[in-house]
Symmetry: C2
Subunit: 214 residues, 2 copies
Amino acid sequence: MSEADAPSDFHKTITDLGGAALADRLRFVTEIDKLKGILRQTPLLDRSRKENDAEHSWHLAMMACVLADYAASEVDMLRVIRMLLIHDIVEIDAGDTFLYDTSAAAEAQEEKEQAAADRIFGLLPEAQAKEFRTLWDEFEAHESADAQFARAMDRTQPFLHNFLTEGMMWQQHGVQADQVRKRMTVIADGSPALHDLVQSLIDEAETRGYFGTA
Amino acid sequence: MSEADAPSDFHKTITDLGGAALADRLRFVTEIDKLKGILRQTPLLDRSRKENDAEHSWHLAMMACVLADYAASEVDMLRVIRMLLIHDIVEIDAGDTFLYDTSAAAEAQEEKEQAAADRIFGLLPEAQAKEFRTLWDEFEAHESADAQFARAMDRTQPFLHNFLTEGMMWQQHGVQADQVRKRMTVIADGSPALHDLVQSLIDEAETRGYFGTA
Ligand SMILES: [Ca+2]
């Protein structure tokens, strides 16, 4: 048996087989498989392991479908879902940063993510690369209604996982109730109803002793 | 610290906190976390482990975005993506069946999946449950253009993973070239260009000795 195709070999194999038009796209499709290996600081609900970015992105897209009626204003669901599907792809190169991390590493993250966006979206044909990059920039800017609803999903899901695992990561990282309250305020921009519920769940979590101590 | 909320407790907690309208939806959102624990017979490209259904669903939705221009006929991308996001959710109860499995277990699978669809989509408010069920039924029937394109993604992705891991699962399960050729013909319904490429890649895989022996 011959050696497995390296990424660049696979691009050549496809081109040699007459699939040149598809080669860039499939090179991107195989590259993003790496997102399944980027672990987050969120436990699965069964506490068996940490969640990875690919399954997280799927979960957020599902949440957006299910919670669309609770968006703050009218949103374009196809744009919201596409935004959520791609929002963490840059972490293939840049890695995940914990939401409550305030170190210099977290500040350097933006630069790394910009370079990652250039490289990874840049694997696609130019028009498509630009489309994905624009969508990702919009998510990062969190100014449009679509981006704000998408971000509400991205904040709510890890919160729910922490609540339902008795503050597993809050305990581990010494995260306190007021830090979470502050971080979760942006949910209001995307979904006031969800924001109200999350703030009530924070109070409930505090009563139950789910948070860490300083 | 008190006990963690069981699923039914969480529904009650949300309702008690004034979030009754959201309780069914968030119950569903937490239930589908289990999809991350359903393993498939597809290796990740780095061969580190088997893929799970949640990250697989994300990957297919991404492929649909990237390959939309190669659909056999005009497709509604929002419907295609939603179909792909939910298409394996029934496997939370029914488990995954290997594509080349011809045992009685595979035949019993459909019945199990119907019951799973009743239970899991049934957690949602009625209108939404019906919407998801209709979409899943449409995917399973593979008659509409949207469903055929979605299925082309579902067949192509594991194929690519097998090709790029030198037929890891083909070898392990003794899957032969002609079985794969036959299984991949349906890709033509959703994307003729992708089908042509996949058939050429099967020839190439055969030359390289990636397939199993009977
Ligand atoms: Ca399946």
